[in-house]
């Protein structure tokens, strides 16, 4: 599904004219198989979020190659990346990133609007999905009227609505209590099983990482370990 080859990236930091380059990703090579849940675990500053940003097309790598279903995405333009994201990727963020002025229903509906899908088809699809995730009761609530767990469920629904083959989750349980965390992880696992969606989860939490099918551990921009959760 996703193949990452010899990926390098560095950031320039410091005052203009006195910048220095700090390498954040150092020759990463790994694969994510179709329909698996992969966790990338590491401490703060290990480069795991940068890796997700590059895989999602938010950043262009200095060198290396990323292919998604055989398509080389690492050299896409901004517009090409946007179009590819809309059709192939879903996103779940740590702080949910819901639109505050839109209801839960409208937030989930947004990617379909961007795809240019008609109103009646949109409404039908969103209703069905929200019902299956148990959000029907809160569909007319605004994000600030929802609990953290509900907000993350809405965020997952928004990621799912376009039926993407891959969902990137950046610290999906980072803002949740342990009970809600378990709910969200179970939801991810059930969606993975039921719909065959590939999940790439970025986390610093080993417990979250171990719910995945495969775990990659990152340290100082390098993958130090990779394999089945119980083996790491």
């Amino acid at each position: 599904m996703i193949s990452v080859r010899n990926l390098n990236h560095s950031f320039k930091i410091g005052k203009k004219g006195k910048e220095r380059e700090v390498p954040v990703l150092k020759g990463l090579t790994f694969d994510v198989a179709d329909g698996e849940i992969v966790s990338i675990v590491g401490k703060s500053g290990s480069g795991k979020s940068t890796l997700l940003h590059i895989m999602a097309g938010f950043l262009t790598p200095d060198s290396g190659e990323i292919r998604v279903k055989g398509t080389k995405t690492s050299s896409f333009s901004e517009a090409e990346n946007a179009k590819f994201r809309l059709n192939h990727f879903g996103f779940v963020f740590q702080n949910f990133q819901l639109m505050p002025g839109l209801t839960a229903f409208e937030n989930v509906e947004l990617p379909l609007k961007l795809k240019g899908i008609g109103k009646s088809e949109r409404r039908k699809k969103v209703k069905e999905l929200m019902q299956s995730i148990g959000l029907t009761e809160v569909q007319d609530h605004y994000p600030n009227e929802l609990s953290g767990g509900q907000q993350q469920r809405v965020s997952i629904a928004r990621a799912l609505i376009t039926d993407p083959p891959v969902i990137f989750a950046d610290e999906p349980t980072g803002s949740l209590d342990s009970e809600t965390e378990q709910d969200v992880l179970l939801l991810i696992q059930s969606l993975n099983k039921a719909r065959g969606i590939t999940f790439v989860i970025i986390t610093h939490d080993d417990e979250v990482a171990h719910t995945a099918d495969r775990v990659y551990r990152m340290h100082d921009g390098e993958l130090t370990e990779g394999g089945r959760p119980h083996a790491i």
């Binding site: 517009a79 963020f93 002025g101 947004l110």
Partner: protein, 424 residues
């Protein structure tokens, strides 16, 4: 994203910041209304002066001279394109005397075709146009020049005749150059009185008869005077051609000159007036545009703030797959909306101001000048033609979109990662 969803998206954002958008729309409205009202004064004054000149029926008139002018040539002139009327006025080449009871005057007969005179805006102060050879109309000053014998000899003050003239019978007598009568008198009836000439110093004491009267006058004259082929005929005349529209005067004038006629018109002078007012209107529109440019600063600020406030939202939209061009279009639509609403309101307000000022300003100016009717001039202070509406709308909406361009570009350049890191 479907267009109606884009509209819906813009509408949602506008309603979220009602007060700020209202103030920006207000500024755009004021700027545009200022432009329209200011320029409308130029259009109004231009129209007033044009109307004033045109009502004097001189501008579309071409004085045409040919050494061999006759009815045949006049009929040929009538058939030409863009000719509204051809007035062939003929005058009697002899002394004449008119009597109304005991009063006499030396008023002269002008023979014309009243159908053509009517087409050329000839109008009466009272009465109607002649229908038979015995009916005539008289100039507005005809009565003033009717004098008694005492008045003629200077024995008493000249009072003239100030009674009603319509229906009165007058006798018309041809005379030789020594004042001796030629033939019998013609009995004529006054059926109308001409309008006062536009210029104060013009005095019209003539009598106007229809061309039907020519044979009668010729019969009386040539019964006593032998017709000499070498001498001038009894009637001599001049021809004025009236174009259907001012724009056609120039072409018609050229056509007649090319055909050997001598032509004079004052349309060329009016052209200079048009050039002057064109420059004035362009100047007023320029000044008005400055007001719109000032309002555009407000639009720029509003849109810049909108982009800054929505940085995180723009980041989320880009993250989930919104095309940068779509983001740009949504913000441009928002600034265009401000421009469109501002322009529509400005047009409505401007028409209101125009109507009110055309009603109130003449009263104020008359009061200030101490005159009742602005010297008889029908002054229009403000006119808003559709062309002005189109120009103002184009400038206003164009400036609004240009103001929104930079903030919209800024929105497309928002970095997704930075935007997602923003605090809620």
């Amino acid at each position: 994203m479907q267009f109606k969803d884009q509209i819906d998206f813009v509408r949602q954002h506008i309603t979220k910041n009602k007060m700020r958008v209202f103030m920006t729309v207000l500024a755009a409205t004021m700027g545009t209304a200022f432009l329209i009202v200011l320029a409308s004064v130029g259009f109004g004054l231009h129209e007033t002066i044009r109307d004033s000149i045109l009502s004097n029926r001189k501008v579309t008139e071409l004085e045409v001279y040919s050494s061999e002018m006759n009815q045949e040539k006049v009929d040929e002139l009538k058939k030409r394109d863009h000719v509204k009327a051809v007035v062939y006025r003929q005058f009697v080449n002899a002394e004449q005397q008119v009597k109304l009871g005991d009063l006499t005057s030396t008023s002269r007969m002008t023979v014309t075709d009243f159908v053509e005179e009517g087409k050329a805006n000839f109008s009466l102060a009272e009465g109607r146009l002649p229908k038979t050879a015995e009916e005539v109309i008289v100039g507005s000053h005809f009565g003033q020049y009717l004098m008694s014998e005492e008045e003629l000899e200077g024995e008493s003050e000249v009072k003239g005749y100030d009674g009603d003239l319509i229906g009165k019978h007058i006798s018309y007598q041809l005379q030789d150059f020594e004042g001796n009568p030629i033939g019998k008198e013609l009995q004529l009836t006054i059926v109308g009185v001409g309008k006062k000439p536009a210029k104060d110093w013009d005095q019209d004491q003539n009598i106007y008869g229809d061309a039907l009267i020519i044979p009668a006058i010729e019969q009386i004259y040539f019964a006593e005077v032998e017709q000499d082929k070498d001498e001038q005929s009894l009637f001599y005349g001049n021809v004025s051609v009236h174009a259907d529209h001012l724009e056609n005067v120039k072409a018609l004038s050229k056509e007649l000159k090319d055909d050997g006629y001598s032509v004079y018109s004052i349309a060329d002078e009016l052209e200079q007036l048009d050039v002057f007012f064109l420059a004035l209107k362009a100047g007023l529109i320029f000044v008005g545009t400055i007001a719109i440019l000032i309002a555009s600063i407000g639009i720029f600020n509003t849109m810049t703030m909108a982009v800054t406030e929505r940085t995180r939202e723009i980041g989320v939209m880009k993250a989930i797959g919104a095309d940068p061009k779509l983001i740009q279009r949504l913000f441009l639509m928002e600034s265009a909306w401000i421009g469109v609403i501002g322009t529509v309101l400005a047009i409505v307000i401007s028409y209101g101001v125009s109507v009110v000022s055309n009603y109130i300003l003449p009263i104020i100016v008359s009061a200030a000048l101490g005159e009742e009717d602005l010297g008889g001039m029908d002054v229009t202070f403000s006119i808003i033609p559709w062309q002005l509406v189109v120009i103002a709308s184009t400038i206003s909406i164009g400036v609004a979109m240009i103001s929104g361009w930079r903030p919209a570009r800024k929105a497309t350049k928002i970095d997704v990662i930075q935007a997602l890191r923003q605090e809620l």
